[in-house]
């Protein structure tokens, strides 16, 4: 089975960990993220008729206290850039992280997951923003860790992108 290293990027508290929790296998506790700065999880899915094992590096969200360890991104086959749809700044932060990753490791298949889609009333990211991101070549997916909506699809989509590369 093909294996792919996927890194989850994004600001803290955007729900990266919640996003994957229901869909992955893990043998490590959440404590790893705050100590080592990363937690490894595993997700096997079928993308385009092929079984793929995604090894998800759920990185501690960059914030004022902890810088993202770029070394964790080395060798990644894809990035899932996660932001919080109810906090516009998290998108900018996520994109900034992605940019620094790209600077370091070059162009790597990536996908944006705009999380918390269940909180439509508090939504801050405009359709226009989404459109312009699409025009820039981004694949976007609204997700909800709470309802599970879009999560599987986001991983599927990213897996396809990594295979198409």
């Amino acid at each position: 089975m093909l294996q792919k290293k996927i890194c989850l990027l994004g600001a803290s508290a955007v729900g990266k960990t919640s996003l994957v929790r229901r869909f992955v296998e893990s043998i490590y506790s959440d404590g790893y993220q705050t100590t080592v700065g990363v937690k490894i999880e595993k997700k096997v899915l079928n993308a385009g008729g092929e079984d793929v094992m995604l090894l998800l590096w759920d990185l501690y969200g960059e914030d004022d206290f902890q810088k993202l360890r770029l070394s964790y991104l080395r060798g990644a086959a894809g990035f899932l850039v996660v932001c919080d749809g109810t906090r516009k700044d998290t998108l900018e932060k996520a994109l900034a992280v992605h940019r620094s990753a790209e600077q370091e490791f070059g162009k790597i298949p990536a996908m944006i997951a705009i999380n918390k889609s269940d909180l439509a009333s508090e939504w801050e990211i405009s359709q226009q923003t989404e459109n312009s991101l699409s025009q820039d070549g981004w694949s976007l997916m609204r997700t909800s860790a709470k309802t599970g909506a879009g999560v599987e699809e986001a991983f599927q989509g990213l897996a396809r992108l990594t295979l198409a590369k």
Partner: protein, 592 residues
């Protein structure tokens, strides 16, 4: 042959044209013949070669091996293998179908050793685990480990193996360095594992974390981690790293071994490692080579016991065995003694116990019952080990009643006692006096209800007669012409006086009175008158002696018989001396 039809072209305009064409053709043909004769025959030969399968096969056969070599060299190994695989498989199947032996024989040299090795390895590991389990089954340590086995739910043998392990490589991870993806994971038998894919990634993350956190110079990495008994050693290669999970303390050779394996992986898969896109399948080829690292090394078994220790143990064992046997035998003897004692009439045991190596026996005992100490001696038991505590009582067991009767009634030698249904029978002969005693006292003996003397005969008469006869056979001899009792016969006279008194008493008991007649004798030398006188004096002297010994004078008559009643014929001096004597006669009043 082609010229023939050209010449037979029909006449007429049309026919002329045909003829010209035919001529032209013939000329062309001729020209061609002239120009290309050699090439033509070559062409024909070539065509022949192309269309003749036999020749073509011959051609291919000449270049086939070279062609395959070329194809492999040009990086077409995969394609060639793919092309050949179905046919080779088919051929193998066909071969096995036709005659399985051929393939089996061909494979035998390589499969035999491999199978032997696998079986040997399995047996060795099984024996080792069994040995260890046996060795530790009965020790204190073993108990501790058994408890641990129950607590953790692991098999006892596994727990033993874990603790006796010096070191063992339990898991190996070949990890793609850049992505942290797992290429190969091998695990020793019976080792519980977590998801190796995630572990590989996390190991890589930790490497990165440590390097970043401590600003390690490039090229320096975390080489080992220690968690309790577990050690994780990591060897770095250009494109892959090899992490080993080792239980116990691994010697430096293990690292060398790991480096060799890592080098081997780079040698064989250098390009694949660089181009790695997530497909770890090709690297599975490394599994057998990596599995070689799984040698477990166990602690030495605490050295061989010294001969002294062995001998001491053996002696102790023997002594213990001997002691146990002796104690068992001794106890058995004492128990048998107790049983024997219980069966004795007149003995009632109320308690029999052993404490402090001594035997305490309590109970009731008839004084006439067997002496327990005698029984002890008979059974070869040490009487000093026995503490008896008896209370006395009178037993009514017939044996003891009889014994008691004998002790109290003291029957004369010619009489015996017997007990039947509480009646004491006296049988045999006994004096009247004893019979009286028996009749009076027997019923008072405990256990006797009645006395019976019907089987008893009186012995007093016979005793009297015996005594009388004994007295009458007494002869006192005198020297020639002497009437005084010689001094050396005086002792004899004392006994005679006692017997006389006895015979008088017995006669009285029989309701009779007796008297004695002392008859004096003389030999035939001298005159009759002298002899009568002498013999009379001899009888009187005797009487005087008896009277002096307390016999009533009126009981004794004397008479001098002279030579008139000789005891012997005087054929010799020896016989004559018997006639110089006194004889004694007991005269009963009843018989007179």
């Amino acid at each position: 042959m082609a010229e023939q039809p050209a010449r037979q072209v029909p006449s007429g305009k049309e026919e002329d044209a045909v003829e010209i064409d035919a001529r032209a053709l013939a000329e062309l043909h001729e020209l061609r013949e002239l120009l290309f004769h050699a090439e033509r025959s070559e062409l024909i030969a070539l065509r022949e070669r192309l269309h003749n399968p036999r020749l073509r096969a011959k051609d291919v056969s000449e270049i086939l091996a070279e062609a395959i070599r070329l194809r492999r060299g040009k990086g077409g190994r995969q394609a060639l293998s793919e092309a050949l695989a179905p046919s080779v498989e088919e051929a193998l199947r066909e071969s096995v179908r036709k005659d399985p032996r051929i393939l089996a024989d061909a494979l035998f040299p390589s499969m035999g050793p491999a199978i032997r090795r696998a079986i040997g390895e399995a047996l060795r590991s099984m024996t080792q685990s069994f040995d260890l389990a046996m060795e530790h089954s009965f020790s204190l340590q073993g108990l501790k480990w058994r408890f641990e086995s129950i607590r953790t739910g692991r098999k006892f043998a596994d727990v033993v193996l874990l603790h006796s392990l010096l070191f063992r490589v339990e898991q190996l991870f070949l990890i793609h360095k850049k992505t942290g993806l797992m290429l190969v994971h091998v695990v020793a038998p019976f080792v519980p594992v977590q998801d190796p894919d995630m572990v590989s990634a996390m190991l890589t993350a930790i490497q990165d974390f440590v390097r970043d956190s401590f600003k390690a110079p490039a090229g320096e990495t975390l080489e080992s981690m220690q968690v309790g008994e577990l050690q994780v050693c990591v060897e770095q290669g250009p494109s892959a790293s090899l992490a080993a999970v080792i239980r116990g303390q691994a010697p430096p050779e293990v690292r060398l071994r790991m480096q060799e394996k890592l080098e081997e992986a780079h040698q064989l898969f250098g390009q694949q490692l660089e181009d790695f896109q997530g497909d770890a399948a090709p690297f599975q080829e490394l599994v057998p080579s990596l599995s070689d690292c799984f040698a477990a090394h166990y602690k030495e078994r605490g050295g061989k016991p010294t001969p002294f220790f062995q001998i001491a143990t053996a002696v102790l064992l023997l002594v213990g065995l001997l002691w146990a046997t002796l104690t068992w035998r001794e106890n058995r003897k004492w128990n048998r003694f107790a049983t024997e004692l219980r069966a004795q009439p007149g003995i009632l045991i109320t308690s029999f116990a052993k404490s402090g190596g001594r035997f305490h026996i309590r109970g009731l005992r008839d004084p006439l019952a067997v002496n327990p100490e005698v029984l002890l001696m008979k059974d070869n038991l040490d009487a000093n080990l026995a503490d008896f505590e008896w209370r006395q009582y009178q037993a009514l067991d017939p044996v003891l009643v009889l014994k008691r009767a004998n002790a109290i009634l003291e029957p004369p030698a010619a009489a015996t006692l017997a007990l039947q249904n509480g009646v004491l029978y006296a049988r045999g002969e006994a004096p009247r006096r004893w019979q009286e005693t028996f009749r009076e006292r027997a019923p008072f003996v405990a256990g006797v209800k009645a006395a019976d003397i019907s089987g008893l005969t009186n012995t007093d008469h016979s005793e009297f007669s015996v005594l009388k006869k004994s007295l009458e056979s007494t002869t006192i001899l005198f020297p020639v012409g002497v009437a005084e009792i010689p001094a050396d016969r005086k002792v004899e006279l004392d006994k005679l006086a006692r017997d006389i008194r006895e015979v008088v008493a017995r006669a009285k008991a029989l309701g009779d009175t007796v008297s004695l007649e002392l008859v004096g004798h003389a030999d035939d030398t001298g005159t009759d008158a002298h002899n009568i006188l002498l013999s009379d004096r001899r009888a009187r002297a005797m009487r005087a002696e008896l009277v002096r010994r307390g016999i009533a004078r009126n009981l004794i008559r004397t008479r001098g018989a002279g030579y008139n009643e000789p005891l012997r014929n005087e054929d010799s001096e020896d016989e004559r001396k018997f006639n110089r004597s006194i004889t004694l006669r007991v005269i009963s009043a009843k018989t007179q």
